[in-house]
């Protein structure tokens, strides 16, 4: 399956970036093979508004079924839900470690946005 995860760098050893929408990269990983596609989110960080929406759009467009991030605001959450994507939260770490935690069922499924929206 395809997993999207927000990251500070473009590969599996990078740190997870906790903030969906303003993270530096979005990594799309095929599990279990762990092939990686790195999407640069520079445009999202520069977006006038709706950075979370733009990031949600990237996730939807990538075909990922799951998003893993640290925090997800209400608009982004709404967008991801509309796209049928499940959101899992992590407290941080390296991408490869967090992916293992996900595969082992150790991450929490987010039922709702966990932070207030902002720009």
């Amino acid at each position: 399956m395809k997993i999207a995860i927000t990251a500070a760098g473009p590969d599996l050893s990078s740190a997870v970036d906790q903030r969906f929408g303003r993270g530096r990269y979005l990594l799309v990983v095929d599990l279990p093979e762990r092939t990686v596609q790195a999407i640069d989110n520079q445009a999202g960080r520069n977006a006038a508004q709706g950075a979370g929406i733009q990031a949600a759009q990237s996730v939807i467009d990538s075909g990922a079924a799951v998003l893993i991030s640290g925090h997800c605001g209400p608009k982004a959450f709404r967008a991801l839900k509309a796209g049928g994507i499940e959101v899992y939260l992590t407290s941080g770490g390296r991408v490869d470690e967090v992916l293992s935690q996900f595969e082992e069922g150790k991450l929490d499924l987010a039922p709702a946005a966990d932070v207030d929206g902002h720009w």
Binding site: Q49, G50, I53, Q57, K75, A79, A82, G83
Partner: protein
């Protein structure tokens, strides 16, 4: 004549001047007062209008005809504000992000997008103390005050007016610019302090960029220093009125009283001030 009362800094006395000026002139001419500070309107606290008839203010939002939509997502890709989310089927609209620009409806190849309205605030109007008064309020959490400000400034249903006074919001961002737009003259209210001066400079730049002649009212003279006067002299910005720091005026304001209603001298000063403004707008003096 249309006078906008603005400032860079908040709390300098825009509303105080607006309501007092409108009151001082109300018996001589037909006056309109438009409270355009729709985030924190205050004029009604002084005027205490009896009317409670208000109208909702809406802003256009796109509506996607789910049957006609083919899910091509051209609308979502065209939206610069990320207000439409492209999905396998019809897009999801995030109305708070929508700027009502109309691009989505234009690009849709199926003509599947039409427009509806979404309520973002209210506008109220009526006569109070011989003043034609309009004010508006933006709903908490809304992003764009422009449509509400435009409703407040809409005089299509107003009686014929000699003078219109616009109480603008503080600052020089989009809401202040919207309030100033179309004014014949901008009266910039400041206080003689470093914060007042700094923000006055921004306000003067704004008026000049909008080609609106401006002049300054220094409120609470005596509390600070002379740098505002020096700036105005150096920049050729006329100082039209100096209101002394007067505890009586401050206390009256704190109670929501219109000082000029009870003080003939202050009312007279304001009428002279208005005459000066009229002369300047007629002569089209630019700074």
């Amino acid at each position: 004549m249309k006078i906008a009362i603005a400032s860079g800094k908040g709390g300098t006395g825009k509303t105080t001047l607006s309501v007092n000026l409108a009151t001082a002139l109300a018996h001589e001419e037909s006056i309109g007062l438009l409270d355009c500070d729709v985030e924190e309107p205050n004029c009604h606290l002084y005027l205490k209008p009896a009317f409670d008839a208000t109208e909702p203010v809406g802003t256009p939002v796109p509506v996607v005809d789910q049957d006609a939509c083919t899910g091509c997502s051209l609308c979502a890709r065209a939206c610069e504000f990320h207000a439409l989310l492209a999905l396998p089927g019809p897009p999801l609209l995030l109305p708070e992000l929508c700027h009502a620009c109309g691009v989505c409806a234009y690009v849709c190849p199926e003509e599947a997008i039409s427009e509806s309205e979404r309520e973002i605030g209210m506008v109220g109007s009526g006569m109070v103390s011989d003043i034609y008064f309009r004010w508006g309020r933006l709903n908490i959490g809304e992003a764009r005050s422009t449509p509400v400000i435009q409703s407040v400034k809409d005089l299509s249903a107003a009686p014929s007016l000699d003078t219109v006074i616009i109480d603008a919001p503080p600052g020089v961002a989009c809401p202040a610019v919207e309030a100033l737009r179309g004014a014949d003259f901008a009266v910039l209210v400041t206080e003689p302090t470093p914060f007042g001066l700094h923000d006055l400079v921004l306000a003067v730049q704004t008026a000049r960029q909008m080609s609106i002649p401006c002049g300054v009212v220094i409120n609470r003279v005596g509390i600070g220093d002379k740098r505002v006067d020096e700036y105005c002299a150096a920049e050729n910005v006329p100082v039209l009125l100096r209101i002394p720091d007067d505890r009586l005026i401050a206390e009256a304001c704190s109670r929501g009283e219109i000082f000029a209603a009870g003080d003939a001298s202050f009312a007279s000063t304001l009428r002279a001030f208005a005459s000066d403004l009229r002369t300047r707008t007629q002569e089209r003096i630019t700074t």
